[in-house]
Symmetry: C2
């Protein structure tokens, strides 16, 4: 099944908003064993919408549009869809009821503009938007389906998961099986992985495909397979994945496509451990990554954003003489930070501390921008490491976050293997 | 000048990686007064690349491709570009030298696969990649330019800003002026803004366009203009923006398109104030937003991620009886948190504290998911507020972060107006 996505909105083509919708839809579509053929991002004008929709309908069985449905004047998607699918624009009372309900729930007054959301083409089947005022519109023509979704990401996601996707599954069932396997690998580059897997790739059956996705500090290796025989496909893929796992045994972080923070929390939870953080250069981003994961609070207690030396000294108990002697970005300071957050603040079993120079300022002759010290504490030992990360501020913060979590994950897995818990 | 962007990569169409490159390029292109006509995201296969490139060349003067240039087997962009622009694939010694240098700097061994990056079409002009091994390729044909860029975001950004964009500016100069004006507005919905600006919009000259971008907790209002007379355009736009600012005087957060954290830091800096944070439900995300801004350390000292009650009590000095009596998610606890982080931890003049229920668990009959208490402290007073935010965990965390920063920004501007600093 081929799917085309059309993202509508001037703001996307001005770069003022990053289009996360298309990726979210693509993930759902891939899970259904269908293929996203193309994403087309276009301006909010009739000519662009008309052209993109007609091209997409010619090449795909399913077309999903996002955006261009808001109550404001720059929205002109509905008239174009009426022109393509026929019928006329008319008020739909069930939509008006829904818009009224949404406004009442949010305690906002229903104005004329919002009420105009209820005007929809008579050629579409309306799917009521339970989390916003823009109705979802389902069109059919020559056996093909176009679904017009709102552009606000949470509305799109909510309605895609709970209404549109189940309806698409019901409408178009069956077909081939598409499977994915993932390995997160660190400490080897994309090229080195490719070289070591050159023969493996040559010998891959034609229905399998290996891809490399370089992330900040690690590589996501993805094996994709497509076959009509689902059981056979799974068997071959599991065997192939095992080969790769054996080749990179020393470098594998995890064998699922999950956020690193979630993996760390899984390992902490199954070993009954708690964690806290003391962040200088990563500035709260490790805490943020952990607290994005639901139910993190049973393992992650919190910690300190020790951006200034004053906090390092007063809260974490770092020795001012150590800072004087080695500098704030140093292995002894990282070690005292992780010790301090655990001993003085949180009393957790595990801890992470970071101190580094994220730039653009702050570099010294011996410590260039990108110098980062990370300390990892588990009940059995403390690991401290110094790194030199490339890139700009945001990239150094992201890489510090990822490497700190990877170090903790690797250490917890190592201790599990040694049956130390 | 029309620009088309083609993002190449299976991972984008599987939703495993969000395409940030296209938005980054669009922002740069918009700054040059050129227009991104379309972004097309396609699979890493010859037929898709051939079709997208030919279509883009037919419709735009400038075509920028990203991705499909890595050293691994799934990259087939170069042969297709050779087919379209002529010449043949041959090793370029200057690229090989550059690849060797990059590998040496990163202390990685040069393998055969990485060395193959030096094989480029003879029809292109090579731009050496200073931050990665994939060369940038500049093609010309019938007065049109195609630039093939690597897909790794930091490489693409670095090379776009420092090499490709200046070269494009030199190659295609002049043309019309495109200007943007921005207002960040909160506490009014997109529809309400649209209704109050209906007449204003009707009266806008045809070369101006107003757009609404709903964010988490606020709306970005953008006025776009395009005109051959740059001075006239600027004059009209400034006058029009002033009208909108007057209409929403009570709701304007700022009149530039900057991150909220950066705006807060600007206000703190110009009033000689320092800030710290005590985050429960926002889990470090406010600290992360602040520390993403370069040179934040002169105003932002750090703080506490007080996810557990233990940390609220031990580190911030929140009274256990207050938690017992009102619950951890309550106005008195938020107030004690901001007081504690300033008095006991950081000794800053300003502070932000958050405590709330980000879900999906943790709700009580009186405190549903989305209940968030925020305390803002300035040298003159403490503001505490309770909110009920809609949406899922990530959305509640983002909205908490934005609203906390907006409250601080508004309070600092208010105190500035009252000349209290």
């Amino acid at each position: 099944m081929n799917v085309s996505i059309i993202a509508i909105g001037d703001e996307l083509l001005l770069g003022q908003v990053v289009d996360t919708n298309s990726g979210d839809i693509a993930r759902i579509i891939s899970a259904a064993n269908w293929q996203v053929r193309q994403v087309t991002t276009i301006h909010d004008n009739a000519a662009s919408i008309r052209k993109a929709v007609n091209e997409a309908l010619a090449e795909s069985e399913i077309v999903i549009t996002t955006g261009g449905l808001g109550p404001t004047k720059d929205d002109i998607t509905k008239p174009v869809l009426t022109e393509i699918f026929g019928g006329e624009l008319r008020q739909d009372d069930s939509v008006l009821e829904n818009v009224k309900k949404i406004c009442a729930n949010r305690q906002i007054e229903l104005n004329e503009l919002t009420a105009s959301q209820a005007i929809v083409p008579t050629s579409c089947r309306v799917i009521q938007n339970t989390v916003g005022t823009a109705p979802i519109m389902w069109f059919e023509k020559d056996g093909k389906v176009l679904v017009a979704m709102p552009g606000v990401p949470f509305e799109m996601n909510e309605m895609m998961h709970n209404a549109v996707f189940p309806m698409l599954l019901k409408r178009f069932g069956g077909g081939v099986d598409i499977e994915h396997r993932v390995l997160l690998i660190y400490k080897v580059t994309e090229s080195e992985i490719a070289e070591r897997l050159a023969r493996f790739e040559e010998e891959l059956p034609p229905f399998l495909h290996l891809a490399y996705l370089p992330m900040q500090g690690y590589v996501t290796l993805r094996l994709d397979g497509i076959h009509t025989d689902s059981a056979y496909l799974k068997e071959v893929m599991d065997a192939k994945l095992k080969e790769v796992e054996e080749e990179f045994a020393a470098n594998v972080v995890w064998n699922e496509d999950r956020p690193l923070a979630e993996i760390a929390l899984i390992l902490l939870r199954r070993n009954g451990l708690t964690l806290s953080t003391a962040e200088s250069c990563s500035g709260g981003n490790i805490a943020h990554a952990l607290t994005l994961i639901p139910n993190c609070s049973d393992c992650y207690l919190g910690g300190s954003v020790a951006y200034s030396n004053k906090i390092k000294i007063n809260v974490l108990g770092v020795n001012p003489e150590t800072i004087e002697c080695y500098g704030a970005v140093s292995l002894p300071v990282a070690e005292q930070m992780v010790d301090g957050v655990i001993r003085r603040v949180t009393h957790t079993e595990c801890g992470i501390a970071t101190t580094g120079i994220a730039g653009p300022g702050g570099a010294t002759p011996t410590k260039p921008v990108g110098t980062v010290c990370i300390a990892i504490r588990t009940p059995h030992r403390t690991l401290v490491d110094c790194f030199h990360f490339p890139g700009n501020r945001a990239r150094i913060i992201e890489r510090t976050t990822n490497i700190a979590l990877i170090k903790l994950i690797r250490e917890l897995r190592q201790l599990e293997r040694e049956k130390r818990f």
